[in-house]
């Protein structure tokens, strides 16, 4: 037994193992629970069941050959991860990106964010016991996947960005399809609202469950919807603008309560805000190249270390790269947002009922391969 779980012989507790194969753990996560009846005394997540050595591959693969890895870290919002890595290398090597490419990047990243939130919505309500919203969410998601497949070529693990731009341009069918999708989705959201959000069972399951205070978010480094559900107004797109986000007018939903319902509402509102960004980007889309005029043949960042952060669907994804002037990175650190979000699970679940702890885990929006990298 390690120091974290001390068995007290006078207390009648038992140790329960949740995972690594379990319908509610979104990936392979194992949680060691010490239970007193239905109440959790201590919860300790155990990681490493899908550790795929991304950081070691960052040192083995050249700069370009690492691009497919970015899509496999968090496969639900793979384009944000592409964006983080590509932006970090562009900052280090001083590569300029043409404006049309930046707009295409924003449009595809926001579409990906909507699809990630839709899948989270379906899986979360499935954890709580409702099967129907999952099928509706997957159906909506298929439209986005069709659109992105026509541009990037893949359905799930995209590898669309290149250093200095993107590799494929969009056509009129894509633009028409996206506008059609936004119209359709705007009609769907009130249905989700009436069926799920205002459902008395969901409200009773989520309100005041799993409170995360602002102080806890600071001590653990929680970002993304987990922080925005606790009253912290931090969004990398607004606080530390990158790409062409300053040109768009969108709100950042922030809720004060800090419970699971607040995190749920933050993500549902973010879907609407992403649709606003896509509409504005489609209206303002400039003509031009999608790759820089002087083609980037060899990427050679200068010696030193660099950092770049983007707003992924789950929080602030940071890339810290140490370069020694050769064609591979000397050290590539990937700061994953869910890693910091999950680390507060042990403190947040003390004394909770087991089903409430599962509701909290769902509201944190975990993707385990991103934690294990």
């Amino acid at each position: 037994m390690n120091g974290l779980l001390q068995q007290d012989v006078n207390q009648e507790t038992f140790t329960l193992n949740l995972g690594p194969q379990h319908p509610a753990t979104h990936g392979v996560l194992r949680v060691k629970l010490v239970m007193d009846g239905e109440y959790i005394v201590e919860a300790e997540p155990v990681l490493g069941y899908i550790h795929r050595m991304h950081e070691k591959m960052g040192e083995n693969r050249t700069w370009v050959k690492f691009l497919p890895n970015c899509g496999r870290m968090d496969y639900l919002s793979a384009l944000s991860y592409n964006h983080g890595y590509v932006a970090a290398v562009e900052r280090a090597a001083g590569i300029e990106v043409p404006e049309r490419a930046e707009y295409l990047r924003v449009i595809t990243v926001e579409l990906n964010r909507i699809s990630s939130h839709l899948l989270w919505f379906g899986a979360f309500v499935l954890d709580l016991g409702g099967f129907t919203p999952l099928l509706y969410a997957f159906d909506d998601r298929e439209f986005i996947l069709d659109l992105l497949e026509s541009v990037t070529g893949s359905r799930l693990t995209y590898c669309y960005f290149r250093f200095g731009g993107v590799y494929n341009d969009i056509d009129d069918a894509f633009i028409a399809g996206t506008r059609e999708f936004i119209k359709k989705q705007r009609k769907r959201m009130p249905m989700y609202d009436a069926l799920v959000t205002k459902n008395i069972i969901l409200i009773k399951r989520l309100k005041e469950i799993g409170p995360i205070s602002k102080d806890m978010a600071i001590r653990y480094g929680a970002t993304g919807p987990v922080a925005r559900g606790s009253g912290i107004n931090y969004d990398v797109r607004k606080n530390e603008p990158y790409s062409v986000y300053p040109e768009f007018d969108f709100d950042v939903p922030v809720y004060e309560e800090g419970d699971s319902m607040a995190r749920y509402m933050v993500r549902m509102d973010e879907i609407e805000q992403s649709m606003r960004i896509i509409e504005q980007a489609l209206d303002k889309l400039p003509e031009g190249d999608i790759k820089p005029k002087k083609a980037v043949k060899l990427v050679k960042p200068e010696k030193g270390d660099y950092y770049h952060a983007v707003e992924a669907a789950r929080g602030s994804f940071g890339v810290r790269l140490v370069s020694d002037g050769t064609n591979t990175a000397y050290r590539l650190k990937l700061r994953s947002p869910t890693y910091s979000n999950l680390s507060l699970y042990g403190e947040a679940t003390k004394g909770m009922l087991l089903p409430d702890a599962l509701a909290l885990m769902g509201s944190l929006d975990l993707v385990i391969p991103e934690i294990d990298r």
Binding site: P20, Q21, H22, P23, G27, V28, G48, Y49, I50, H51, R52, M53, K56, M57, N60, R61, P68, N69, R72, Y75, L76, L119, L134, L135, Y136, F138, D139, R141, E142, R155, L156, T157, P369
Partner: protein, 165 residues
Amino acid sequence: MGNEVVQPPIIHFDTLDKILGLGRANSLWPMTFGLACCAIEMMATGAARFDLARFGAEVFRPSPRQCDVMIVAGTISKKMEPAVKTLYDQMPEPKWVIAMGNCAISGGPFVFEGQYGIVEGADKFLPVDVYIPGCPPRPEALIEGILELEEKVTGHRRWPRVEAK
């Protein structure tokens, strides 16, 4: 749980075997064993557009005691390998294994010189029946894999093969 030898039956009932084979093939119950990215495509295959239910395989059971087929979807890491073997051993006979995705076939994109963390393919420790390549394979590919498994169980194929003209 070691390797057990299942004795073949002494008396063969040909028609009964055919009927049992038909029943088993048309109602394969998969285990929800999504490890990584391929799990999402498996869920999409079970969802509304691609609908695995019309082939009989809609009931994804979380418990290994109630499944026929284990779809290994995702990378198997060295830490996870004993758990996968335990789950396979807990499944009752007759059972099949589908290796879905490049990682389950041979390690996928994570094989490099000096790799320390993954098992290069599910067939290193499990008897795999059908391999479905792709990273991740499309839902149509998973459906084709299920049809191949049905052909392996019954001896003939349910749907005609699609041929490019």
